[in-house]
């Protein structure tokens, strides 16, 4: 059995940054780095594996070390807030840190605001309003840190499945409050945009045709759903980053890591399932710039996105020509 490497490659991306920031220009900032984790501690074995295998890290002088990665685990929202507000600014100056990684930003908010029992009726609305204001405060705090200390702040965020129909409460509200949907109607009557509207009906969020609605517009800032010719599989695997629009407005730059399964020719049959299932051969991964202040977004779909693979020595972009090369063992050398 093939050992699948982790999700879309977020952790690999972050770990690479932790080491790269320690290098001298042009690679890094020759500084210490800070890793704030909400779930599991820093995977040090993987970091040292990178350190001992990545060609750039190997040839660097002075070499990056694990000593210059300061890490802390924040198990709940209260400690996370305290650490970010009072301890991180002090640590920044004391250790000369220029890169802060918060992995992941959503976990603690999820635990605090989406617990069962708290989410019924009026309470859930009040909860979400409170969460929004907390997120704005967190955004402001991180922005001030980034600006005042001129350090890079990287937050990891999870994605959730996007549901067809119904949509978010926000979308329902905006749909309900909009008795005059003439915008959508007049748009679709224009010959130029009719094609686009027809494409929309094939997408899972067809319930709201209103171009002013969140369900329609989120494809341009979430990183998922802007594919002009989505396949059946893409529609099934539509994702939305956690924490919603409010959090998105706090960010300067969003990078989406997208993975798609590649099925092999064979069929994985077993006794219980007569028809069998297609064999999952490997995952393909892409990095996509959704929005950024300093660089153009990758554009719709995966056309402009950079395909990469995760190897023992780190992330590596896939050259476009070598796309059809057979690489059965590419995922085997990663043991994390």
């Amino acid at each position: 059995m093939t050992i699948f490497s982790s999700g879309a490659g977020k952790t690999q991306f972050l770990l690479t940054l932790l080491l790269a920031a320690q290098l001298d220009a042009p690679y890094g900032l020759s500084s210490s780095t800070l890793y704030i984790s909400t779930e599991s501690a820093l995977p040090t074995t993987r970091v040292s594996q990178l350190l001992h295998t990545h060609p750039v890290l190997l040839s660097a002088n002075p070499k990056p070390t694990l000593d210059k990665i300061i890490s802390i685990v924040t198990p709940d929202l209260e400690s996370q807030d305290h650490i970010l507000r009072y301890q991180v600014p002090v640590a920044l100056r004391r250790h000369g840190i220029r890169l802060i990684i918060l992995d992941s930003v959503a976990a603690n908010y999820r635990a605090e605001f989406e617990r069962p029992g708290a989410g019924n009726g009026q309470n859930s609305g009040a909860n979400m309003a409170q969460r929004s204001s907390e997120l704005v405060k967190l955004g402001q705090l991180l922005r001030d840190l980034a600006r005042n200390e001129n350090c890079a702040i990287v937050v990891a965020n999870q994605v959730a499945d996007r549901f067809a129909g119904g949509g978010s409460p926000l979308a329902r509200r905006s749909a309900g409050n909009n008795p005059d949907s003439s915008i959508g109607a007049s748009l679709s009557s224009l010959p130029g945009v009719r094609g686009e509207v027809e494409v929309n009906t094939a997408l899972p969020f067809k319930s709201t045709m209103d171009p002013m609605s969140l369900d329609h517009q989120q494809r341009w800032f979430t990183g998922w759903g802007d594919d002009p010719h989505p396949s059946h599989l893409t529609i099934k695997n539509m994702k939305t980053p956690s924490l919603g629009l409010i959090w998105t407005t706090q960010l300067a730059c969003r990078v989406a890591l997208i993975k798609r399964p590649v099925y092999g020719p064979g069929i994985l049959a077993d006794e219980e399932n007569e028809r069998g299932e297609p064999v999952l051969r490997k995952w393909r991964r892409w990095m996509k710039v959704v929005f950024a202040p300093h660089v153009a977004p990758s554009g719709p779909g995966l056309e402009g996105a950079v395909e990469f693979e995760i190897k023992g020595e780190g992330m590596k972009a896939v050259k476009k020509k070598a796309k059809n090369s057979d690489d059965d063992d590419e995922d085997n050398d990663l043991q994390t």
């Binding site: 999700g7 790269a20 890169l99 001129n150 702040i153 780190g314």
Partner: protein, 137 residues
């Protein structure tokens, strides 16, 4: 009112100590101070009109100063929010992903001075596959 110190960290709140508790009790935010009529705020928080007016003006002025758009002496003051193109270029640094193609797509890498989000699926879904496989064995 709780957000005044957050919005304007350097604001001299000690001058307005008498007003703050009442404003806080009546949920007057900094945005309210800037947008509502002073009479309205004074009525809501039951405070002397002149004091409220003074606070509103001071808030506006402090905010303009921190944005670097105040008139007179404020113009010479450098603001963190207001940078020239030269400043930005001078302090522009990025962290490489250690791969040329990925760096090119990111315009050099992850920039300093900004919040960057990396979003993507976790391996939890894969973990689920393992659970399923384990159950099949």
């Amino acid at each position: 009112m709780t957000d005044l110190t957050a919005v304007l960290p350097g604001f001299p709140t000690h001058q307005y100590v008498r007003l703050l508790p009442s404003l806080e009790k009546n949920l007057v935010t900094t945005a309210d101070l800037l947008t509502l009529d002073c009479v309205e705020i004074a009525k809501r928080a039951q405070l002397p009109l002149l004091d409220v007016k003074r606070l509103c003006n001071a808030t506006l002025e402090a905010l303009q100063r921190s944005l670097g758009i105040a008139e007179g002496e404020g113009v010479q003051q450098s603001s963190l929010l207001r940078k020239t193109g030269k400043d930005i270029l001078g302090s522009w640094r990025t962290i490489s992903t250690l791969d040329d193609d990925l760096d090119r797509a990111l315009g050099g890498g992850i920039p300093t001075g900004y919040i960057t989000e990396i979003t993507g699926e976790r391996y939890a879904t894969l973990l689920l596959y393992f659970v399923i496989i384990d159950n099949l064995l």
